[in-house]
Symmetry: C2
Subunit: 230 residues, 2 copies
DNA sequence: GATGCCACTGTCAGATTCTGGCAGTGGCGT
DNA sequence: ACGCCACTGCCAGAATCTGACAGTGGCATC
C-alpha cells in the first residue's frame, strides 16, 4: 500500500471512531509503527485536515469531508460555481457562508490563472425574491437533521390555527420563495411539510428520534411518487 | 521537491502550453529525466487526468480543473450538494448534466459511508417554476462566453420589435424565471441585457471579440453599482 | 524505404525517501 | 510519583524513486 493510500485510510479510520483514539491503536490498524503514524498525522495536518491530538487521550478528526485529488471539466466547475453562488444568496446565513467558504477554499488551492478564471466565471445568480419573513434559524433545523434530533416548535397552518408540535425533521426543501421542512409529526403520526415562514419558537432538543433519517427520506419519497412535489 | 508537488507542477506546465509539448521539454522544465517524466504522466493518467500523448507530437492536457486533496466541513459539502442539485434542475441541459456529473464524480471517490451521507443530504430543491419558453441552446452562449466569440441572433425587445444583432457575450444571469445574457451590443455600442426567451436564431461565430471577458464583466459591474441588479 | 521525431516499455544499479526502533521531553490526570 | 500518551530528533536498514540504456512502434518527411 502506497503512502498516499495509507493517509486516506487513516482519515477513514479516524472518521469511524468518534471518541479519541490513541496513536498506538491507529498504528496497529494501519500496520505501521507508532513513529510512522506520528509522521502521517503531521502530513495530514499539513494538508489541512482538522485532526487534533491530546496527550493522555488520543486523536480526533473534526467532522468533515476529505476529497482526494479530483479532475473536473470546465462545465462541471461552472456548474459547481454557479450552484454555490446560488446557495450563497439564500437567506440561510450559515449555509450561505458555507457556500462562500467552499468556493474560497477551492480558489485558495488553485494556481493563480485558474483562480482568475473562477472569479471570471460568467454565470451569475439574480437577487433573491424580496425579503423573507422567516423568523427562525434554518441552521438549527439543518443541525437537528444531521444529528437526527427531535424539534419542538409552534406552527400556524394554512387556516391560521396555531399549535405546538414535536417533529422528527429529516429534510429541508428549497423552493423559489419559501423553504419547507419535511418531518414526521408526532401529533399527526404522519409525514408533514412545514413552511419555514409559519414556524415560530423553534427549539432543537437533545432527544434523538428513533428512526434513521435516510430511511424516512426514502419512505417519504415513496409517498410522493404520485404527487411528485419535491 | 516532492513527487506529488512535481505532479501538480506538471499539470500546470501542461495547462500553460495549449499546443502539444514533447516529453523531453517537459522533463527539462521539471528537471527530471525523460524516463521519470513518462512515469509521472502515467501516474497522472491513473489518477484520472485527461492527458493525451501522440507519437511525433507531444502531450496535451484536455481543458479542465485539477483539484488537489481538499477538506470540507459538513456545511460546506451540504452547500455544494444543494447548489449542484439546484443547477441540475435548471433548464440548460448541458449545464444540468455537468452538475449531475460533478456530484457523481465526487461521490465516486468517497468511501461508501460518506457516499451514503451525500445521497442522504437532506437539502432538496423544489421543481422549477413551470416550462420555460426558451427555444435556444444556452450551452451555445456559455461556449461563446468561454471562447470569447461573437454571437449573432434575432432579438425581440420589450416593445415587440425584432432586430438582428451581433453581440459580445460575457455573462449569463440566472433569475427565478428567466435567464439573461449580458453582452456588448455592436448595434447600440453599449452593454445590453437579453432575455433568453426573446432570443431566436442564435449562432456563435468563429470571430473572437476584441476585448477580454473579465474586463468587460468588471466594467459592466461598475455601471451597475447604482442600480444593483445582478 | 530510410531517416528523424517522439511516445512508450523493461531492466537494473544507485540515489532518495520512508520506516521502525530508540531515547527523551512535556502535558495531564490519578 | 506514576502511567498514559502526544510529540520530536536521530540513525540504520527497507522500500521506493530515479536515471541511463536498450529497444519497439507510430507517423511524417525526405
Amino acid at each position: 500500500m502506497s503512502r498516499s493510500e495509507r493517509l486516506l485510510d487513516l482519515i477513514q479510520i479516524l472518521r469511524r471512531h468518534r471518541r479519541p483514539v490513541s496513536g498506538l491503536t491507529l498504528a496497529g490498524e494501519l500496520d505501521v509503527s507508532i513513529r510512522t503514524l506520528y509522521r502521517d498525522i503531521a502530513t495530514l495536518q499539513g494538508q489541512g485536515a482538522p485532526i487534533e491530538g491530546e496527550p493522555g487521550l488520543g486523536y480526533v478528526l473534526k467532522p468533515g469531508f476529505m476529497l482526494p485529488p479530483l479532475m473536473f471539466t470546465d462545465e462541471e466547475i461552472e456548474a459547481i460555481v454557479l450552484g454555490s453562488r446560488w446557495v450563497a444568496k439564500q437567506p440561510d446565513t450559515r449555509l450561505s457562508a458555507a457556500a462562500t467558504d467552499a468556493l474560497a477554499k477551492i480558489a485558495a488551492v488553485l494556481p493563480e490563472d485558474l483562480r482568475d478564471e473562477l472569479d471570471a466565471t460568467a454565470l451569475l445568480v439574480g437577487p433573491s425574491v424580496g425579503p423573507t419573513r422567516e423568523n427562525i434559524d434554518l441552521g438549527v433545523i439543518r443541525q437537528a437533521i444531521r444529528a437526527e434530533r427531535k424539534i419542538e416548535m409552534n406552527y400556524e397552518d394554512a387556516s391560521g390555527a396555531g399549535s405546538r408540535r414535536t417533529v422528527w425533521p429529516f429534510a429541508l426543501g428549497f423552493f423559489d420563495k419559501v423553504r419547507v421542512m419535511v418531518a414526521w409529526c408526532e401529533m399527526r403520526q404522519d409525514f408533514r411539510h412545514f413552511r419555514a415562514d409559519r414556524i415560530s419558537d423553534l427549539a432543537a432538543t437533545d432527544t434523538r428520534y428513533p428512526r434513521r433519517r435516510a430511511v424516512m427520506l426514502k419512505e417519504w419519497r415513496a409517498t410522493l411518487d404520485t404527487t411528485r412535489k419535491l
